[in-house]
Each structure stands twice: as structure tokens, then as C-alpha cells.
């Protein structure tokens, strides 16, 4: 298993480096339309062919990976931290605070937040840059995606706070923030990492789905989400297997996250 982890780390580092250096590695600008070769098969000039507007797919995968690989984990981290903060403190405190916070969480889970996303988009200037728009989308997803995990973390924190090692820690004089930070949070890591690992692909796909409402990334900037939307016309796509490359890359990257996190998921 150790070699698998090493391979995963190396792979992630390679992908990240290549994408960060996309300006030098990409054979063509991601927005440039080669209009004489739309929907082209892979060739020497276009390693993964071109999309329906003649844009080099390989370049778009590089830049799209850069956008999604930076922003989705950042949003996932944000939602995980919010979940541990809200759920953890509520579970640790217990009694009326826990009940109040969990009632609020249940309400939060039920509301149609789609309208908030639409409202925020409306408040942004029309001429905002595509990258600003996608950063704001992912930030909102991070701010809205904590509620489900918070419930589980609350239950976990509640159970942990009554455990023997916490009793021992209290008896040793640990209290308040130190008790939470040094003893509780490390033991919440399994759920935290599960939440993080799930959130990354969920946010990427949510960004793709929000494109239907104009809330995702704006043209011509690519993201994994916008590249995956090419697969929605599946019957046509099955005849062009190179279109699956972004999906395969996506699956492999998410799997490498799992391998990297696996060692960390064991409790302290």
C-alpha cells in the first residue's frame, strides 16, 4: 500500500505542476478556435482532438484541471472546516446548544439555496471576469455545503466527548479550546477526511450542473465541469472515446486523493 500512496502523491504533484505550467505546456491557447477542424479526432497538432468549436481539447483539459484542482479542494476544505466548527462545537457543548444548532442545520439543509446562487450572480457585474465568477461559485458551494457533515460530526463529537480519553484529558487539567483542539478535533479526522474526499467531486459536478443556470464557469474558461458536460450527449460521445479523457483524469485524481488521505484517516 505504501507504494500506491507514493505513486498517488507523485501523480498528483505531476498533474498539479503540469497544469500550473499550462501557459508553457499547452500547445494552443484554450480559447482559440481552429474553425477548419471542429470536432476533430486526435492528431499530431491536437493530441485529444478538438471540441465542437475547434478548440484544442488537450489545452482545455490542462487549464480546466488548473481551475478545478485549485478551487474544488479549497471549497471542500472550507465546507469541511465549517462542518467541524459548527458540528464539533455543538456536539461537544451538548444540551440546548446542540439541539438549537442541529435544528438550524436541519433547516439549512432544507432551504432552496439555488436561489441564493442565482441572486449572487445577479449582484455581480455582468463584465466580471470568468475566473472571478468561478471563484465566487466555488466559495458559495463551500459556504453552503457543510450542513450534512455537521450533523454527523456533531453526533461523533457528542460520542467522543463522553469517551474515556476525553475524561482523562479533562482530569489532567485540559479544558475549553485546548481540549477541543488537542483532543477532540484529531479524533474527528476520519469524518473530516471523508467529507473532504466526497466534497471535491461533488462540488466539481455541482459547478457543472450550475452551468445549466449560467452559474458555473463563463466562456471561454474551461473547468472539469464544463468539459464533463460534453459527455451529456452520450450516444454521440461513445463514438469518440477521447472525449472521456477529462472524466478518466477526474476519476484518477479523486482516487489519488483517497490514497493520499488513507494514512491520515486513522485516528490519533
Amino acid at each position: 500500500m505504501k507504494w500506491a500512496r507514493m505513486f498517488a502523491i507523485a501523480f498528483l504533484l505531476t498533474v498539479s505542476t503540469v497544469c500550473l505550467l499550462a501557459n508553457f505546456v499547452a500547445p494552443a491557447p484554450y480559447a482559440r478556435q481552429f474553425r477548419d477542424v471542429p470536432d476533430a479526432a486526435p492528431s499530431h497538432q491536437h493530441l485529444l482532438g478538438t471540441d465542437e468549436l475547434g478548440r484544442d481539447r488537450f489545452s482545455r483539459v490542462l487549464y480546466g484541471t488548473r481551475v478545478s484542482l485549485l478551487l474544488a479542494p479549497a471549497a471542500a476544505l472550507l465546507s469541511s472546516l465549517l462542518a467541524v466548527l459548527i458540528g464539533g462545537i455543538a456536539g461537544f457543548a451538548g444540551s440546548w446548544l446542540e439541539r438549537l444548532v442541529m435544528a438550524g442545520t436541519d433547516l439549512f439543509l432544507s432551504l432552496p439555496w439555488l436561489f441564493l446562487l442565482i441572486t449572487v450572480r445577479a449582484l455581480l457585474p455582468l463584465n466580471v471576469s470568468p475566473i472571478t465568477s468561478v471563484v465566487i461559485t466555488f466559495a458559495l458551494l463551500g459556504l453552503l455545503g457543510w450542513a450534512g457533515a455537521a450533523r454527523v460530526i456533531c453526533a461523533d463529537a457528542g460520542a467522543l466527548s463522553k469517551s474515556d480519553f476525553m475524561l482523562l484529558a479533562r482530569a489532567s487539567g485540559s479544558s475549553g479550546w485546548r481540549l477541543v483542539w488537542r483532543h477532540l478535533v484529531p479524533n474527528l479526522k476520519p469524518i473530516l477526511y471523508a467529507q473532504f474526499w466526497i466534497s471535491v467531486p461533488v462540488f466539481i459536478l455541482t459547478e457543472a450542473n450550475l452551468g445549466i443556470l449560467g452559474l458555473g464557469v463563463a466562456e471561454p474558461l474551461p473547468s472539469w465541469g464544463s468539459l464533463l458536460r460534453e459527455l451529456e450527449s452520450f450516444p454521440s460521445v461513445s463514438a469518440q472515446p477521447w472525449r472521456f479523457v477529462p472524466l478518466v483524469l477526474f476519476i484518477v485524481v479523486v482516487s489519488t486523493f483517497h490514497l493520499v488521505l488513507t494514512k491520515e484517516e486513522l485516528p490519533v
Binding site: 500500500m1 500506491a4 442541529m102 435544528a103 436541519d106 433547516l107 439543509l109 432544507s110 432551504l111 432552496p112 439555496w113 439555488l114 436561489f115 441564493l116 442565482i118 441572486t119 445577479a122 450534512g148 457533515a149 450533523r151 454527523v152 456533531c154 453526533a155 461523533d156 457528542g158 460520542a159 479524533n187 476520519p190 469524518i191 477526511y193 471523508a194 474526499w197 466526497i198 467531486p201 461533488v202 459536478l205 457543472a208 450542473n209 464533463l228 458536460r229 459527455l231 451529456e232 452520450f234 450516444p235 472524466l247 477526474f250 476519476i251 479523486v254 482516487s255 483517497h258 490514497l259 488513507t262 484517516e265 486513522l266 485516528p267
Partner: protein
């Protein structure tokens, strides 16, 4: 006041608050009060004005909500503006479809997720873990539209898609929780003393993870409902998810308020039930 009565009162307040907040979000969102029919070039000025006046009763949120609650007490859920039919009729027709899908989805998701997590934890074989995690990762990464098309192409029942959406999340959480439980000192001791796998699982590993698993069960219900919306919209299943999507696109406040309240109620019921069960189990063990 008994515990159940307190819980019921709390849920009622939350449901009403949920309805009001949902209505607020819709009312404040851009596109409220407009109708696609306004682009019909045949309409003259008066017809256009009449069209715009149709949403006047919903402009003042507090007045709208007060009237809505008043009608609700008489069993009238209002009329859907986009579908021009009583909301109660629409919900009665479509809720069973969604409940079927959600029920099936949760059953499949939990059966697959929990059982795979148990196999991974009990076998302690890294290749099982890798395989199961890869499967979960694959399903997490597949867009719902692709999943739907795959199912339709293979002529498989599309309701099972929800199960494949729920499974990776249930698997991941369960795997991590059970892995942590299995590395607790008392489990290591039991293993060292030769306790069999079944007994180890049901007497030592599962019980320590039960409160969290129950919380996850409660959350998975609202997760399944949320996933039902895009799934029903994609696969054209006539459930409340599809209804919610149409209502959102049409900014149909009467319909959205009711749907928000139903979802709030279901979420509260699921999470309260899992909380109660968790507390009961803890009391029993104590």
C-alpha cells in the same frame, strides 16, 4: 409537556420558518414576477399588464405568507402558478413517485455502502479497500446525466440511480467510522483474545459507531431528496423533484413554499428519528 410533544412543536416551528425562508429566497431572487409568455409578440399592452399583475399577490411576502397560513389551516395549499393546478393535487400525484425512488435509493445505497464498508474493515485487505474506494470514486465522479443515459441505454430501472448516488457517501463515511472503531483498544483486545469476526463486528465495532451511523442515516434522507431533483428532471420521472425544478425555473412561490415545507418536515423527521434512536440505544447500553 412530554418529550414527543416538545419535539412536534419544535418541528412545526421549523417547518413554518423553513417555508417562510424558502419563500423569501425565491422572492428576492432575480426573475421573480416575470413570465416567459411576456415575450409572445401577439400580446397587446393590456394583456401584458394583466400577465404582470398575476404575481402581485406574492410581491409582499408577509401578506402572502399570512394568507397562505390562513388557507393552510383549512387544508388549502394554494394554486401552482406555473401549472395552474391545486398544489395539494400536484403533491398527492407526485409524492408517491419520489418516495418510491428515495426509498429504493436509500435501501440500495445503504445495503451496498454499509456492506462494502464492513467487508473492507473486517478483511483488512488493502486491495479490497482500493477496489471498493475506486468504485465509490468512480460513481462520485460520474455526472448524473451520464449515469441516467447509461441506465436508459441499458434499459435498467432509472430509480436505482439514486442508490448509486447515495452509495459512495455512505460507503466512505461508514468505512472511516468502522475503521476507527476497529482500531480502538477494546477491539484489539477482543481480537487478540480470539473473538470471532461476527461477534467482533456486532458486539464491539458497530456499537461504537452507531450514533454516527444513525446521524448519517438521517442526513442521507435529505441527501437522497436533494439528489432526486436532478435525477427526476433528467429521467423525466413525474415526482416532486421534477416539480421542484419546474417551480424553481418558473419562480412559482406557492409551489416552492409547500415543497420547501415538505422537505423540511422530511429532513426533521429523519434526523429527529435517528437522534431519538441514538439516544435510546445509548440509554439501553448504559
Amino acid at each position: 409537556m412530554s418529550r414527543l410533544a416538545k419535539l412536534a412543536a419544535k418541528m412545526l416551528i421549523a417547518v413554518l420558518l423553513g417555508g417562510f425562508l424558502g419563500a423569501t429566497l425565491v422572492r428576492l431572487a432575480p426573475g421573480f414576477g416575470v413570465d416567459e409568455e411576456e415575450l409572445d409578440t401577439r400580446l397587446n399592452g393590456q394583456s401584458m399588464q394583466a400577465l404582470r399583475e398575476q404575481q402581485a399577490p406574492e410581491r409582499n411576502l408577509f401578506v402572502f405568507y399570512f394568507r397562505y397560513l390562513n388557507r393552510l389551516m383549512h387544508g388549502d395549499l394554494g394554486i401552482s402558478r406555473t401549472l395552474q393546478r391545486p398544489v395539494s393535487q400536484l403533491v398527492a400525484e407526485r409524492l408517491p413517485e419520489t418516495l418510491k425512488s428515495v426509498g429504493l435509493g436509500l435501501a440500495l445505497g445503504w445495503a451496498l455502502g454499509l456492506s462494502l464498508a464492513i467487508v473492507v474493515v473486517m478483511s483488512r485487505a488493502w486491495y479490497f479497500d482500493l477496489l471498493a474506494s475506486s468504485l465509490a470514486g468512480l460513481l462520485l465522479c460520474l455526472p448524473a446525466a451520464v449515469l441516467a443515459l447509461l441506465f436508459v441505454t441499458a434499459q435498467a430501472p432509472v430509480r436505482l440511480i439514486l442508490g448509486l448516488i447515495v452509495f459512495p457517501k455512505v460507503f466512505r463515511y461508514s468505512r472511516n467510522l468502522l475503521t476507527r472503531s476497529s482500531s480502538l483498544p477494546h477491539v484489539l483486545t477482543a481480537r487478540a483474545k480470539g473473538v470471532g469476526n461476527m461477534r467482533l463486528l456486532f458486539w464491539h465495532i458497530l456499537p461504537t459507531a452507531v450514533p454516527q451511523l444513525l446521524a448519517l442515516a438521517g442526513v442521507s434522507v435529505s441527501l437522497a431528496f436533494a439528489a432526486a431533483i436532478p435525477m427526476e428532471a433528467l429521467c423525466d420521472l413525474p415526482g416532486v423533484g421534477q416539480l421542484a425544478w419546474k417551480a424553481a425555473m418558473g419562480r412559482d412561490v406557492p409551489l416552492l413554499v409547500n415543497l420547501t415545507m415538505i422537505v423540511t418536515l422530511v429532513t426533521l423527521l429523519a434526523n429527529s428519528t435517528s437522534e431519538l434512536m441514538g439516544q435510546t440505544l445509548r440509554t439501553d447500553r448504559a
